[in-house]
Assembly symmetry: D2
């Protein structure tokens, strides 16, 4: 697809409120409990977000594939606002803090773990039914400052996930981390029930995926099938500028504490709504009004 610098489509804002790995040790304002998450989702909704992208946490703050926690979080979110819930099917990683002690008295041996394919398939049993799931378009080694783990996303798993997801009546967003992933998805269209137009998140800056550069963004957009919708997901320092560029190119917006812990250099984010509010201000200045939940459902072909 060519970028559309003149797009006046409503812009869909997704708030990724909790994230796949970082906990309160990195920013104490990350919502961890379902109650905190529901509150943040409401505030993001009020600020202009239409979608809440969700990972859930154990009581100790680490990520978990536990269905009970997902059920509670989705349920509480839905009680408070009509925001669309979107479950990241990668679950995320949990940190196993190192307990070995070096001769200098420093702890080491920290590593990460990720959910199994079975645990991830099980997310399709979340109740109440969320409106959307994300799938991950390719396998790679996910490397973080806490350690590395295989992020396994085989075609066969994605095929099963897509088919069951549609049977549940849920929509799908596709997370793409590099050029090869787009081809994976075109192949997936052939062997699964995955329907076009496709909805992409172009994830940049994860170690193991394409780095967060403008060249990588334009290179990926250029390879998307005509008619797709897309947004960029960039972690850390590149988040704000690449997201703004994407919006200028006709893409949608994702923001939230999953993607950026700092509001600006040296200043931690206070809450998810603060990030949404900034993107709403930017979107309006740039001539793109935020899409409502209903408009988003229509644009993404979700059940209303």
């Amino acid at each position: 697809m060519k970028p559309n610098l003149l797009s006046d489509k409503k812009v869909i804002i997704t708030a990724a409120i909790t994230g796949g790995i970082q906990g309160k040790w990195a920013n104490p304002c990350i919502p961890i409990s379902p109650e905190e998450q529901a509150q943040d989702a409401l505030e993001c909704y009020n600020a202009g977000a239409a979608i809440c992208h969700l990972h859930v946490r154990r009581e100790d703050g680490q990520n978990t594939p536990d269905l009970k926690v997902y059920n509670k979080a989705v349920s509480l979110i839905k009680e408070k606002s009509p925001i669309i819930t979107q479950i990241g099917n990668g679950v995320g990683a949990w940190v196993e803090w190192g307990t070995k002690v070096s001769s200098k008295g420093k702890k080491y041996g920290t590593s990460i773990r990720m959910a199994t394919l079975e645990e991830r398939l099980n997310l399709l049993n979340i109740e109440p039914v969320p409106e959307m799931y994300t799938i991950n378009a390719g396998t790679f080694e996910f490397r973080t400052r806490y350690g590395s783990h295989l992020f396994d996303n085989p075609m066969d798993f994605n095929r099963k996930f897509v088919n069951r997801c549609y049977k549940r009546g849920c929509g799908i967003e596709i997370e793409v981390y590099d050029s090869g992933h787009i081809i994976n998805i075109l192949d997936l269209v052939d062997v699964s029930s995955l329907k076009t137009p496709l909805h992409f998140s172009l994830v940049l800056g994860i170690n193991g995926g394409a780095p967060a550069t403008l060249n990588n963004l334009t290179h990926l957009v250029d390879q998307l099938p005509e008619g797709s919708t897309w947004q960029v997901v960039t972690v850390g320092r590149f988040n704000l500028r690449l997201t703004t560029i994407a919006m200028c190119m006709g893409g949608n917006i994702r923001t939230g504490l999953e993607d950026t812990l700092h509001y600006r250099k040296g200043e931690l984010v206070k809450n998810n709504a603060q990030l949404v509010a900034r993107m709403v201000r930017l979107a309006k200045e740039l001539g793109r009004e935020p899409a409502t939940v209903d408009e988003t459902k229509e644009m993404l072909g979700l059940k209303s």
Copy 2:
């Protein structure tokens, strides 16, 4: 140069308040008289602009190379504010309205004219001395809705202009309209006193130059010599989004009624300061503070 998505340099904002061709018939808020221009320059300065890019007009509103008008405008601007004055050495085009009448009673035969090389060299005699001039990096046919004209910018003329400009103690900004123009400038560095780092305006969307696409922007930036400063100049509908993208890439900002007559679709700009204020808001949201006049002089190597 690679784009710098993390630049935290102060951003230089240039207000191109009057423009090279459009008159009050297109937007009645374009400042025409030196008095109007000085007022707009002051308001832009107050809103955050550090440079006022200037074309002047005859009493009938058409562009003119008349030194007396330039002198008066520069003089009045300097009386009101310390904003840097930057003279566009292309002068611009004036419209000669068609007087022929078609069988259907419609007037036709409208054409444009542009200043001679001599008239343009004469701009180096403006008093009081402006801080900066722009040069145009290549020759092409400048096509407008009112007609077309050779926009002649031979190497030999630019060589003379640069040498005299530096002798006057003035700075130079280089307007580039296509890939070949960058090579022209590298050659000009060899045969003139033009000093690096160079300061570029990448002008997109003029008929005859490169069209206003993101690909053209990144393609031109990629070809700039390392260490240059740059901004994008995009006319019309592409202005706001490409300017914002450029700022995210580490570029500076130019805005003003020269570049865009509409604030947004269907809504005419009210005054130049309105455009500057929007870019200041965007810049601040994106983590780049507007450079003051003094900071700008230091960044561009201008005399203070």
Copy 3:
């Protein structure tokens, strides 16, 4: 257009046998007289070329718009072989050698001159009628080691030229030197009888136009309208490799002493057919057979 790395279309080979400026002083094997040109055209035809791109020369070897010379050259070429004749409507430049003498006894003051628009329009009266003309898609300053000259190609001139050219029943190839020129041509389609699909030469490496880089080649190809045919024209050292890349991308081939004086580093070309033969060998190795004259006429929509 996207490059087509799998194209198995026949490849059209154009021999640009004489060129727009260089004379026997640069390579004594450049054919100058109509007789030499007809002989070279025949040899190129025998080697696999389908088109002979032509500039003609005065008796002193300099370029000329003189119709008598054109008539004789086209006539002799057609007598010897069925190769398609293609007249470059830019005519080219002639060198006026400097006669001033420096204090060190060195001659200086060399400059170049180019044909007027009237002289160029007059090429439409060449008899016998050539099959094709080239037009130049934009105005710029053409800079050479012998001096610089305005290369004037206004829209209005191109409009007239195209309309008359088609009335004569001749085909048109469009020479593009930078991004803006492609837009010029899309505008020309609107105001003239210029028919799609369009046939482009992407000229790289002329000072004043886009430099000879792979990025510029892919950038220009990307901007061509779908369905166009194209070739790259690169002067000097970049000729062989960019031409080969273009052929791999699905483009056609142009070669000849107009574009390259050296067969390889330090070795002058012996004759035009030597260059054609190399491109034929390369084309065949790469799976693209040279198009015959008849196949070329069909591919370019020329009268047979």
Copy 4:
């Protein structure tokens, strides 16, 4: 890195004679036994190749990590010619033909298997010592017409492999399948003994990696660290043209039955030397002489 269209460096030609998966069922001329491989390596050496990239096979023709077979193959190759041996540390995949029978009597259930990380580390015990190994810069699902398999290349494994490889005195070539892999390698430089300049194979067209397009080639080359050497590895129909483009850009050459089973459309390759000979002819036409074994060792920093 920018492409270098003027490179006159000697070009290193690697013959990938056997490949990671295809067997005699796909082309009966693929050398399978160590004796056949040694003969092909000799012929490729005589034709101009300096490196033999090697996978070995069981007696039934399937890939194997069996050290005894590697030892025999390397030993026989070295007896016959001084060609550099390069062991692909991915080993490749072996096909387990489906034995289930459908109701229509068709066999199905074919799948592939790949070597374990332990089996791959064990390649560092091959005797006699090969001059080079390749490592794979990232993990992804390797998809073939016979089935898919995780191609696991974690950072930790690569770190170990590189360190041991250098201790053995062997050189390293890095296979990159997508943008993210280049970042993986820059990280690997930090945590291992991997030395710059780095030697890259940019592998395009494997399902799971970046597709075989010119855009992907130039995008990857653009991201390589300055001073690297590189070649493109493209499977199937894209092989010849992308390899030729890469050579024009200053890259090295890899060819062989691993990468392409067909010499041209509809015509199977007769033997590896046929492919090497074509690339030698192309390289010479394009002004790049094949590097000898000694020149290659110097260019890649291998022990001589």
